[in-house]
Structures are given as C-alpha cells and as structure tokens.
Symmetry: D2
Subunit: 431 residues, 4 copies
C-alpha cells in the first residue's frame, strides 16, 4: 500500500469504529427486553438493527474479500437478511420480534467477531470494491441507527406505561422566529449528487431539470401553527384533503399528529424520547410525526403547497450541512430561533433558510421515482433502493435522529404517504 | 344571441345528443339485469353510469342555470353523487349494486327528463359558465361510457358462464409489424394542454420541462412478446419486479394478464367482449389488462424502461389523433400491421409511431401529480381530478373503448399501479 | 300403481305445484333487477333462489329417475350448485350477484322445463327413493322461499332509498298481553322427530334426554321490552354479554336490532317489508332481527335465561302447529293479544303458550350438534345438514315468513350466533 | 384460629409456595428475551404470565383482605388485568409484547412483594372468602403455568431457528398398544363436580343426564394413525370435514398437525420442547396439536365419532387421576404401552382406559355451554368462565403440561374449534 492508501484505510477504519459505536450508544438506555419490541409493521426490534447491520458487513465484504473468513453462524446469512432476494430467502419481517435467540449477548459477540474480522481486512489492505461496499455499509448502519431511535420511540409509546427513553427533561422551547419567504429563480438547474463523496445510487445521475421561479418558507411549520389548523377544523374538512388521505384519517381515526394526546381537561401533550411534555412547551418546534396527507392538507388550508424535491435541493445545495442532528443529543426537534435577515434588516435570502438539515424530515410533493438514466447497483446491492420506487413520497434533509455525516443536499429519503412514525414534518412553498 | 353563439350552441347541442346516444348504444346488448352487476371495487353497474352522468348535468347545470327547473327526484342529488363531498353525502360505492330501484326504466326516464330540460336551456341560450360545465359534462359522460364498457367486460368475466357481450366473432389478427426505435431530441420542451379545445384541469398549466434525448418503441408490446416474458419465468424472478409488485403478484396469485386463462391442455385463451378466443389468434395484438407492475417488470426483463408521460406527450403531439377507438366498434385492440419506414426503406422517425392513440392505454413511469402551478377548478368541480393526486400512475393515449373525441395528446389518465381491469398496456422506451 | 300409490303421488304432485307457486308469488312484487341483489354474505339473489331450488329437483330426481331426461343446460349442474362437493365444483357464493345471465326469463323457462319433466315423472310413477327426495326437495324449496323473503328485506334495506316490498301499510299493533310463566315438569323426555311425516335428518334419531323442571315465558320478548333494555344501557354494560358478543357489538357498532333506525329527533323507526314504521306502532310485537348475543344479553339483564332446544320442543310438542306464518300474508310479526289463562281465571299452563310457531324464530341456548346416534343421509344429500354442525346455535318455531307446512315441533334451524338478518327473536326461560 | 384452621392454612400456604415455584421453574431455561415473545394471538409472553398470576392474588385477595396492603405499583391494577371489565380497563391483549418495562427483574420483585404480603396474610389468619379466592388463584396460576409452556413452544417454533426449550433428547417411543373398545352402559348418570375439592364454577351444578350405551377407545389416536389418515388423502376429501373445517384448512393451508414439518426428502419431523424429532420416533405417541376440525374429520374417516364430554366424564370418574402430567418433566406425550386386558386375557373394561389424564387434551364433540342451573361466581370473578360460553368446544383430561393437582374428571377446558397451539389430541368413541 502506498501511504495514501494507508491513510484512506485508516480513515475508513476510524469511521467504521465511530459508526459502530454510535449504534451501541443509542442502545445504552435500553434493556435486552426493550430491544425485543416490534410495535408496528414499519419497525424492527433494536437488537435486530444491531444484528442486521453487522450482517451487511459480513455478507457483502467479509464473505467475499477476507480470505479464510469464518462465518459467525451458518444460519445468520438468511436469518438476518432483510429483503435481498438475490442473497437468500429471509424470514418475514413481522417475525423479527420472535428472535429471542440469538440473545443480545450473542448479537454483541457477533458484532465483535465481525469487527475483529474487519480489522484484519483493514490491516491486510482492502480492495477498491470492498472499500466501496464498506462506505455503503457505513451509511447503511447509519440509516439503521436512525431507525433504531425511531422504532424505540414507537415501542415505548405502545407500552401502556409510556416509559421515557431518557430521564433528562427536555427544556421548554421559546416561540419560533417568524416565517419568511425566500425567493429562488427559475430556469434549468442541475439536480442530483455531485462531487467525490458518497451517495446512494438513487441520487444519480445528476441531471438537468427546468424550474419556474419559486419561494420556500424560511423554516418548517411549527406545532403551534399545526394546532391552529386543527382548531380550524382541519381534520373535518374533506376539501382540504387528498381523497386517499381523507379515507386514511377516517379509517385510522387520526385527529392529530402521532404522539399527540389530549387529556380529559382538553390539554394536549406530546410523547417524546424524554417522556411526555405539554404541547405548550413545544409550540415553537417543528410539527413532527405527520403523514404526507396531513402535510398536504395543511398546505391547502394555508393556501400554499409543499415544495418539490428539486426545489428543496436547489435551496439546500447552497447551505452548509449543519443543524440539529443526532450528535446534538437532543432527540427532539428544536424551535427555530434565528432570523438573521430581520437582525440585519435586509430582505430574506438563501442564507436565511433555517433548519433545512436536521430537526424533521421534510415531506416533498415529489413521488419517489428513478432519476432520468437511473441504474441500480449491479448484483444484490441493486435491491437497496430501486425496487421501492412506487407509491412512496420523497422526504429531504434528515431529522434530529439522523447522524450528521449521513445527510447531504442530494439525499432522498422515501416513505409511503401514510407514514407517521418517522420524525417527519414539512416546510411550505409558494407559487 | 349572435349567430356565432347560436352556432356554438347548436354544435354543443349536437354533441350532447351524440354523447348521450353513445352511452345508450353501449347498453344495447345488455339486459336490465346485466346493468345491475358490480363485479369489483373499481367498477360500477352500467345503470349507475347512465344515471350518474345524467346527475352531473342536472346538478351542475340545470339546478343552477335553468330557471324553474324541476328536479326529477329529490333523493337523486345524493343518491347518484359519486364523490363530491361539497355537494352532499353520497352512498358508499360498493352499495351501487343494491340500486335495483330506481329501475332501468326510471333511469331512462330520468335521462329523457334531463335531456328535455337541457334542450330548453339550449333554446333559451346558455351562459358561458354553463357552456363550460356542459363541455366538462360531455367529457365526463364519455369517461363513463368507457368505464361502462370496461366494467361490463369484467362483469361478464366474473359470471361463471363468461357470456359474450357481442355475438360477433373477432377476426384473428396477423403478426405485428416489427418493433422499431424512434429517436427524439432532448432539451426544454413544453408539456400540457394548449389551444382552444377542451382539456381537464390536470392537463394545465402548460409548462416547460427538460428532457434528455430518448427513444420510443414504434408500437406497444404484443401478447406474443408478453408470453415470451412469461415463458422465461418473468413472474418467478423477483429481481425484475418492484418490491410492491412482487408482493402483489404473490398475494393475488397473478401469473398472466387479467382475462388470460390456461386450459388443462396448457393452451392460453383470452376473454374479450366477443367472448373467449385462443391467444394464438391475438398474438400480434397489444397486451392488455396488465398492471403497472407487470409493465415495469417486462421492461426490466427487456433491458428497457417505460416512457415518462412527458416523453410520450412529445411524441404524441406531433401526430393526428386517430387510431382504433370506440367508434371502430372493434372493442378489442388490433395488431399493428403498418411499418411505413421499412416499406419506404428509410430510418424510423416520428411518423412511424403506431397506435399512440387507441387500442390500449399506455402505462408511463410518471406518478400522477399536479403540474407546476396546477390549480383545481373552484367549487365542487375542483374535486374532479385534484384530490386523486397520490399513489396513482399516469396512462396515456386512450384505448379501444375510448370515444374518439375524448382523447388528445395532453390527456392524463391515472390509476393505481395494481389496476388491471382497464384496457391497459404499454410501450417501451430506451436510454 | 295401486290406488293408494296413485293417491299419494297426486298429493305429492299437488304439493309440488303449491310449493313452486308459493316461490313465484313471493317474487310478484319484484322486478328482474330486484332479483339480482345480494346485499350481505348470508343472502342470495332472489333469482338464484328460484334457480337453485329447481336445480335440486333436476339434479337429485330428474337426472336419476326420469329416463331420457334432457338437462336444460349443461352448465347448470355446477352453476347452480350451492355447496354439494360430492356433485360438482360450484361458484363461490359471493359471485351469485354476477349471474345476470341466465336472465330471469331463462330461469322461469328452466322452472317450467323442470316442472313439465316432473309432471311426466309423476304420471309415469315415481319410485320410493324419488318420492323421498321429492319431499326433501319440497322442504328445500320452502326453506329457500323463506330465505327469499329474508334476503329481499335486506336488499331493500341496503338500497339507500329503502323501498318497500309491499305498498300496503301494516296496521299498528296493540300492546302485548302480559308475559306469564308456564311450568313444565322434569324427568326423562323424548326429543326428536316422531311419526310418519317428513323431517330432516338432523331431527333424528328420537332420543331420551333428562330435564330439570323449568318454566317458559308465555310469549316472546317484545320490542317495547327490548327498548327498555336499551334504555337501561343494555348495549353499554359488558357484564351482560358473552365476551364474543361484546366484541361483536363493538366491532359492528350495534346499538339496536337490525332494521331499527333512530332519526335526528331521537325517535326510533323500524324497516319492514311494508316500509318504514314508527317503533311505537310495533311496541307489542316480538323483537326481531336480533343476534343470539343480544338475546342472551337481554336474558342476563332480565335475570332469566334462554331455553334449551329440548325444553322448547317439550312445550311445542303439545301444541297445534298454528300461528302467524307465511300464508298469513302479514310479513311482519304481530303482537300477542291472547291471554287465555287470565280470561279463564286459572293458572297458566301449556295451553297458554303463545306464538310458539311463526312470528319469530326463537334463539335457544343450544349449540347445533348431531343428536346421539345421528347419521347424515348417504351420498351427496348427506351434505344437507350435517356438515354445518359447528359454531351455530339452534333456533326453533319458524317465523312470519315460514310456510305453514314447513314447520313442526322438532324442526331445528341453525345460524351463527352473530346472525341478525333472519326474523330471529327469543323467548325467556326460568330456573 | 383452631388447630384445624391453622392446619388448612399451612397447607394452603405450602400449596401457594409450590404453585408459585412451579411457574418459576418453567422459566428456568428461558432468558428475559425469551419471556418477551408473543407469537400468536392466543399466546402471551412468559413474563406476562408471571405478572398476571401475581396480579390475581394482589387484586382479589391482598387489596381486599390484607389491612394496610401497599400496592406494588399503582398502574399494575389495569396494566396486568387480562379481561375483567368489572375491575378496570385493560390493555389490548396484542400489546403484551410491548411490555419491555416493567422488566423481568421488576416482575420477579413484584412476585416477591406479593408473596411476602401473602405470607403476612397467612400468618394473620385468612377469612374463608379469601381462602376460597386463594384456591381459585392457585388454579388460575396453574392454568397459566400450562399456558406458559404452550406459549413458549409456539414462540420457539416461530423463531426461524427453532431453538429447543430443553437440550435433553426425548427418547424414541415404542409402538402404541393396540386400541380396544371399552363398553359403558347407558341410562341416567350424574355429571359435574362432586365432593369437597376445588372445582371451577363451570363444572357445576352436578346434574343428571341421559346416555345411550357407548364405547370409548382405550387410548388416544396416535401419530402413526393420523399419518395413515393423511396418506389416505384425509386433507383432500371434503366429505370428511365440517364445512367450516374445510374452509379453515383451505384458508390456512393446513395439511398436517401444527409442528409437523416435511423436509425435501419427504420425511416428516415434529417440533417438540426438546427440539425437532423424526416423526418415526414418535409414531406411537398420541397425535397432538390438532384442531377440533381435524379430530372430527379423522373420526369420520375412521367411521367413528368423538365422545361427548359427559361420556368422557363417566369413564374418567372411575379412574385415579394419574398419568403423564407436567411433573413428569417429559414435556411431550408418550406412547401408550400398557394393554392390561390383553395381558390378563380378559375382555377390556373400564380399567383398561389409558391416558385419560395427561399426555393430550382430548377434544369432545360437546360445545362449551353452561350446565343446567349454572350460575357464574358473583362479582368480577364471574367473568372467569361464563362469558366464554359461545363457539368453543370442550376438551377433557389435561395434557403433558398440566400440573397434576390441577386436573380432575369433571374439569372442562374449552377452545375454539380451530385451535391448534394447545397440546390437543383426541380419543374415538363408537355407537
């Protein structure tokens, strides 16, 4: 290896340690029993997340690139497979709550086994293809770290005792800064991943798209604003809703965001990873855990619309990737307190865009489809993104439980329009 | 009225007669009992189609614009409402099969009552707003004429005796002309409705879009080609399918297009409005009654893709609106027998595009969303299109049961990706 | 044939005519479209009842016993089969609403064809086995006559316009006679069919059963009494209900018997075959269209219980088979106005039992199982009763839509405990 | 207290210790994670069983009878309530898998808290009412001990790795002794609980019933015999099945008992609490984990029938309560090897009845209803049995996971006819 190669691998090796460590740290407040719970079809047990992310490195890197690698357990190849039909059969997702064996200790041992083997591979020099897969594997584990936080929140909410993940109290938020409109010019723009850094296949190819001029809100919609919508009968007015959204809120009996609860006195509270809080203490924070349908209905009520993913990316690509992300340790969105333009007295502009990264994933009005010329990765890893390109909507920007090194302007998250268990909010667009 | 106004109204009056007549003619082979059947959640009884289209004129035109109009029956306003929440409550769709009363005779009488009243309105002069609604109502009735044909096909297929709608035999088709690739240049194109003619709100506003150069197939995929896909294990290879598509074909046990049936000797036959036919007699005809998932899987198998709706519209906007449509009386797609380019020896070009209009609706890879700047009509008619803009895919070009005056290059049809009861096929794109 | 044989066959031939005629008469107020409706999974279209009862005679008698019999249509053998697996495949029950073809005229022609063939068989002399099957076929058609009335009531209720089957108004009922307790001695009694008359296989063998002394109410529970139960919170008190019943009323949102409707002013009305009536005009009539769960909950509320089927039969076997039955033409239960014991001043006794036959089927607390030594008929007809002996409860006594010659003291009807579309009420027992 | 009272309480106190200890011993092979799994709607997590049985003593005894009792946790009253509507609301059953908190350690602490409090109550003298509830509570805990074993078997089967509860191998069984018919006389017999011992309310009142003479098989049907049924097409012949049973096996795709698995070579294996075993090593053991429908179909195939619960009780009441029960530690039914009559050369008689207690619960053909004169306990405990008296069938005799002191001749177990996760088999009857 040349010194440069050594240096890259050192960096990768450090990243690997960091990412692996971050997953474990999220589990620190959890018992082995907590890590068994699978409380909705979208979620998986925390233990499964720890195991499956390890399986990814074993399956796609160690089995192929480490000579003489001894698999940890012969059944893990299919047991911990999530959905890669090209690799093996795999258990139905809903069965993951039955995996009491292997126990947590065995899974932690599996993690150490794979980490030690990866260490050997780092030391012996890693081929370029293995390096690429490693980087993919790191982002894969970061996705699951985020899911782990999302899923444990739902698990604790489902438990009738509503235990708190963290004992610490979240401080009450002040009111949010006023919402302003930031203007963007139209014309042909390029959208999609660019540069040397990592990106998923679904962010490519970078391609041209034509835009009319548009305006984006300087911050996401807040809980207080969403409560206004509710108080104005938002959930009772069919004309505000997509037909499928209206049917959904009737069938599910939704009258507020997920995790909102109204007590007998009529006061709203919100369940967070810090336990239950009065809504009034969160009034300025971005509304969170709403479906696309609710975001769209709010926008109709406000006489605005949701942005397309391209509009969002144009705005985001001018900004630093910084915000309230997982490393902040807050675990709940914060109120936007910065209003730089007002402070400086000028017109709002691109620099006044707040909370584009972190806090809440932002629903866009763009269905999730492949970009023009999109080609999935070859082989089993081609199943990573492409096969989900139907009946999902794109979300952008990451949330308060997204690792900072995992998010970027071109990042495309996607969920069905009725999804609420994610930290999902929205920002308005105009024109 | 000026002479020109009179002339317009005469034309409208004639169109009204024609459209109304066409609906009735489709019912000519049907008994009152046939017109009661509702064989799947997507479908409605034929009698309901006759009634609801009449309701549209009564509700949106006569009640508002004909002074002294006497409603035919006070309950019809809500009884025959399909989904306009702004107008009234409406019965659940699945209850339409219980409407034995009003009987067919009463519905035909209702039609005459409304037609006579419309005649009075034509004679007394129709305000511009009423004229606009009339044109919308005509297109609305044409949509339901097409649905009527689609639904009765499904109704007769559901009947275990599989009766034929028409006694006449469909002639066997010859093989289809060879498929060729037609090249289109990239750049910024305008998409959406233009000109004076009628268009639905969802075809507007006309707007710019950027395209890479692309190729479209000169004709749709045929039954013979789809059988190849099946014989190559197309329905057994998960890597060809969207994840949701794969789940759907397992859950529904789909192994062929709707209306295909394999007898004990292994021979395939196809149910048509002319009764059952051997697949071999239809080999060259466009494959029909496939879902988006099947169209997409075929394209993956073929190493191609489906076109976007914009690409399709660029190609279609250069063509005359002509093809095998409802007025042909064929009621089943025909094989493409024209291959003008080969005949003339030159390269294929836009003029070689066959069967763009009629024969089969063509699935595109474009989810159904509002165009940039889209605004629904105001009032109840705003519920016509906009509220369905989620989880549906766009189809283009009309089918063999689409009235000729109903289709155009900018027309956007839309159905969920799993829909098969429509006359839905597809055409491949390349690059 | 001996004169006696001739006489029997004449009688059978007359009965055949009568039963067949009765089915048609029930259809007199119906259009062909009415006869297409299948409004709940339990029900069938009226036309199907006319066809299937005819199929029974064709399949079990004409095909086997009439030399040279020409089947009416080769597909009818399986098309009109309800559930006899030993005969042929059969269409799913829910598809019966798709049988627009054969049309009503064809079915009526089929009826005439089979009747003419039966006439030939009557004339040529019918073997004993055929005679037995004929009698079974007559009772089979009577069952379907009753179902036809039951099903059309539900069909018209499902129609949002709630049309009336008969235009005539039902007279308002007076209050019911006071309920009295009639005492029956315990000991070993014989239960089950006895004598020469027809009975289904499930009424045999007659067998001994031991009883404790018991009391039965002199009449069924009335609408007024059931309204008391409702007004006392009967549907809100889980302690009154079987666990499965409680789950059912929550899942179905039942808060009153089927066909009861509360208008905005809080007044109850009841849908009948004569159209909608105020509950107050029916207060003294037996409550009808309740499930077993509701009957049982009422009995718990009243501190009583439902009778066993054996107790009911002991009481009924002492009575003449007479009551408000189909031939009365009333089509809705009547209030019990007779209280003979009070008139004569003595203690109530067996003769004071009212409305044991007709008016409403009476839920018993006996699950439907085979009697000791029960053997189904051999061959396909063995599927008539025996295979339904699980998870159903026995009802006794016939209803206002039961033909008079069809009911008897030993007759066992059976439906799942959640069934409400039948004319089902109940009578209390004590001790 | 008199010496006798002291002695009774000592005995109760010892029983209490024994029963509590038995529950814990069943959990000895389990991890805290194992005790979280709820793998089917019928089952509960093992931890929940430990908690709920403790709740029973706390709720019905300590709260009412121990002055100054400090509840362990204020939420446990409703959190651990199973279905007693009179006590409090309770969480949906399916949520029990989300109870990661309270953790196992807390539940064990709760058990110790309640046990210590019970000890105080024992010492201070327990009122008669409390004693009665205690005995009920002991039987309640024994029921849950059995369920715990049943549920953990299903949990481990659901885990794709199929772990074994015990590492020890089950010895292969020899063939079963020949089946013989034992004759019982008819006449009026008394059925139901008698004597001083404990019985559930549903075993009373003892009452007279009339029986025809009958024969019972000397042992349950074996796996080898059931395999014969399967090999003779038992699962493919609708005429053998109740209609509902036939629908169930189609819908569930059942072609063998639960826990049977056929490998690619066509060999059957059976999952046990000792792990997977070849069926051939279990051929002589009673078939187990079959539904009522399968038991009934087998009996029809064999030309026999299932016994009524009364017939079974007549036979059982002449026998000692002994057999292969939980205390044997076998955890799987054994083959019947005893055929005393053949050994002694005489005719079979009541003493030759084998395996009446233990090994497998035996389905009877008796639906679960209240005995004549049945009255539930008063108050909340009245919800224990009575409210489940619909759509369930009675099983008798206990199984290999039933505690010995829990079973008796009059004991009535009950489950829906489609239940298979219990250790349920059957014995044939004749005549």
């Amino acid at each position: 290896m040349t010194p440069k190669q050594i240096s890259i691998q050192t960096t990768l090796s450090q990243q690997f340690c960091n990412v692996r460590q971050q997953s474990l740290e999220l589990c620190a407040p959890l018992t082995a029993e907590d890590m068994m719970v699978q409380s909705c079809p979208e979620a998986s047990p925390a233990k499964w997340h720890l195991a499956h992310t390890t399986w990814f490195f074993e399956t796609f890197i160690l089995r192929e690139f480490l000579p003489g690698y001894q698999e940890y357990h012969p059944d893990f190849l299919w047991l911990l497979n999530s959905y890669y039909n090209s690799i093996s059969d795999h258990p139905e997702k809903k069965l993951r709550a039955s995996f009491s064996r292997p126990g947590l200790e065995a899974i932690l041992d599996y993690r150490r086994h794979v980490e030690a083997s990866m260490e050997r591979l780092f030391e012996s020099g890693m081929p370029a293809e293995a390096q690429e897969r490693l980087v993919l594997g790191l982002h894969h584990e970061q996705q699951h770290a985020e899911l782990l936080a999302t899923d444990i929140k739902h698990a604790f909410w489902t438990n009738p005792l509503h235990p708190a993940y963290l004992d610490s109290r979240l401080p009450a938020s002040g009111p949010a800064a006023a919402m302003q409109w930031v203007e963007y010019p139209g014309g042909v723009h390029e959208i999609g991943h660019t540069g040397d850094g990592f990106a998923f296949d679904n962010e490519s190819p970078r391609h041209k798209q034509y835009f009319e001029p548009f305006q984006l809100a300087s911050r996401p919609v807040t809980c207080a604003e969403f409560l206004d919508f509710m108080n104005c009968g938002g959930y009772e007015r069919p004309e505000l809703w997509l037909s499928e959204g209206w049917d959904t809120i009737q069938a599910q009996n939704w009258r507020a965001p997920l995790y909102w609860h109204r007590d007998q006195s009529g006061e709203w509270s919100v369940f967070t990873l810090h336990g239950e809080m009065p809504l009034s203490d969160l009034a300025g924070t971005p509304v969170c855990h709403v479906s696309y349908f609710e975001a769209d209905a709010f926008a109709n009520w406000a006489g605005k619309r949701l942005p397309t993913e391209g509009e969002w990316e144009i705005a985001a690509s001018r900004l630093q990737v910084e915000g309230n992300l997982l490393e902040s340790g807050r675990l709940h969105p914060s109120a936007c307190e910065i209003s730089s333009t007002i402070a400086s007295g000028g017109k709002p502009n691109a620099a006044t865009m707040n909370q584009m990264f972190g806090d809440v994933w932002e629903w866009t009005r763009s269905p999730y489809v492949g970009y023009p010329g999109y080609r999935p990765l070859s082989g089993a890893l081609g199943e990573y993104n492409g096969k989900f390109m139907s009946n999902q909507m794109v979300l952008r920007g990451g949330s308060i439980v997204t690792p900072a090194s995992h998010i970027r302007a071109s990042y495309r998250n996607f969920f069905p329009a009725s999804t609420r268990w994610q930290f999902s909010g929205f920002r308005l667009a105009n024109r």
